[in-house]
Subunit: 316 residues, 2 copies
């Protein structure tokens, strides 16, 4: 068994070391990709826009999504450089969503990862364009041969990311979230099913994509693909519940962003539906489910199992 207490401690340490190593590698890679994105002909890049993109994408975050690509791809022996390229693309897309969600006309947040949000550090127009440019460069990165020599496989990544991020995924989830807050008239009625759908789209879709990307890069069998898809879906659910618990219980200084937002906004979350104890029980069940999903990979899945525990227990 791979879930015993002593082994967990050792695996958790290995997990932490890997998470930090991937974060370091992603930081270096993102800096290079943002500074050196090739341009055609006489075109140049506006320094203010590049600096705003760097402000958003560099110097922060656990880089959990790139880590998930690296770790799922590692199950198949994919060269790490390829997984990091896909991870950098995903992180650019994730950062775009943070920049746009923080805008005054969206969630109106001033603080992100302990720093001023892009529209506070710059201005609204620059933040909109920096988000647009980060979203666009994500596809630029996926299209490069450094991500994978096989174009068919790169196209599979482009397609999967576009669907995870678009109207039926993350962007649609943000729209449902604004509607649930009553931004377009009366608050939409929220029950457990609709909250789960909203969250599966708004935050779950990119986490699920990360695990799918590892399977695509690795040329996974259908069974392995399904296993990682289940793992990614369950991990996304766990991530959001942990996030809602943090919002309810954490303080801004530790977390690096505003807390108690959900309560203040009268927002329905699984924490408000299930209660804090119920939410914690759900989290534990999801960790078990994620662990079980990794069965086809045996002990090679141990770090991903530790990832599920980390996501559920995280304090920041």
């Amino acid at each position: 068994m791979t879930t015993g207490g002593k082994n967990n401690t050792a695996t958790d340490a290995a997990f932490s070391a890997r998470l930090a190593a991937v974060a370091d590698a992603i930081e270096i890679l993102l800096a290079r990709l943002i500074d050196e994105t090739p341009v055609a002909g006489e075109r140049v890049r506006p320094p203010r826009l590049v600096v705003a993109m760097r402000h958003s994408a560099l110097g922060g975050g656990k880089r959990l999504r790139p880590f998930l690509i690296a770790e799922t791809a590692a199950l198949f022996g994919v060269p790490e450089g390829r997984a990091l390229m896909a991870g950098a693309a995903l992180e650019c897309l994730h950062c775009y969503s943070l920049v746009h969600d923080d805008l005054p006309s969206m969630d109106n947040d001033d603080l992100r990862r302990g720093k001023p949000t892009v529209h506070k550090a710059f201005d609204d127009a620059t933040a909109i364009l920096a988000g647009d440019a980060l979203l666009t460069v994500a596809f630029d990165i996926l299209a490069r041969s450094e991500t994978h020599p096989d174009a068919a496989l790169r196209i599979a990544l482009v397609s999967a990311l576009a669907r995870a991020a678009g109207v039926g995924g993350m962007a649609g989830g943000q729209m449902f979230d604004l509607a649930a807050e009553g931004r377009f008239g009366a608050k939409t009625t929220q029950d457990e099913t609709s909250v789960k759908t909203l969250q599966a789209m708004k935050t779950g879709a990119l986490i699920r994509f990360a695990c799918k990307a590892g399977a695509i890069l690795g040329g996974a069998s259908p069974r392995e693909h399904d296993a990682l898809d289940t793992y990614g879906r369950v991990l996304g659910e766990a991530f959001q519940i942990a996030d809602d618990l943090l919002d309810a219980e954490g303080d801004a200084a530790t977390i690096g962003k505003r807390t108690s937002k959900d309560d203040a906004a009268g927002k329905v979350t699984l924490v408000s539906i299930l209660g804090r104890d119920g939410a914690r029980a759900r989290l534990a069940a999801l960790v078990s489910e994620a662990t079980l999903a990794l069965e086809p990979f045996g002990a090679r899945g141990d770090i991903l199992r530790a990832t599920a525990r980390f996501v559920a227990d995280r304090k920041v």
Copy 2:
């Protein structure tokens, strides 16, 4: 010769018929693609977001960019359905740029194609998300096998579009444009070279991409590729000068958007640098250059020659 007066009249009529036919086909295809974008698993699409995307993408515009893909691809006998898919993707991306540029924190426009802009018809948050979703779906569409059966070719389109639209292309051009207006402190000094660079990025890049996309879809030789790249670059310059002349001379009721904006904003354009007569002379020279660039295609390039005349002479 293909540039004689009598032939031009016949070719201009053929051009108009083709432009209208492509616009009709694109309208139908965009409606289908926006309504039926596949979603994964339990995900659904928020109706308000879909309606906002439709508001932006349907019912308007000459569809010049899709037409350019269709017409350059036709030089190589590419099946029209493929060119239309790439054209629909490009039109989604173009529409995203209009939605975001019209926002209050950007150009603050209320009217677009004779209709309220998306943030006026809905709200700022919906407009930001509709733009994001249109940008994302553009890459979704390019990644589909309907666009071309060969994945390597689809990846070439993804890469070229991401670079045309990103920080070194359209988004960067919009940033330079805001800086030129003095939005981030003193107005940046503008001369003919910097104005041309700004415009080559802001509006030229997508027009140039359209012509490049036809060459990619058609498996063009390097010489044909260069010819269409020159044509696209020159056409983009001509398009912008014609646009600036329209802004200086046109009226809002005919054009369907606010005019005299450049003058009111004290904006430097090639019209303000060269004067109206100088700008008209420049336009004529660009039409000649575009015509000349099509030499390798002989009479097959006649409709693209008519396109250059149309772009230079257009009144709306």
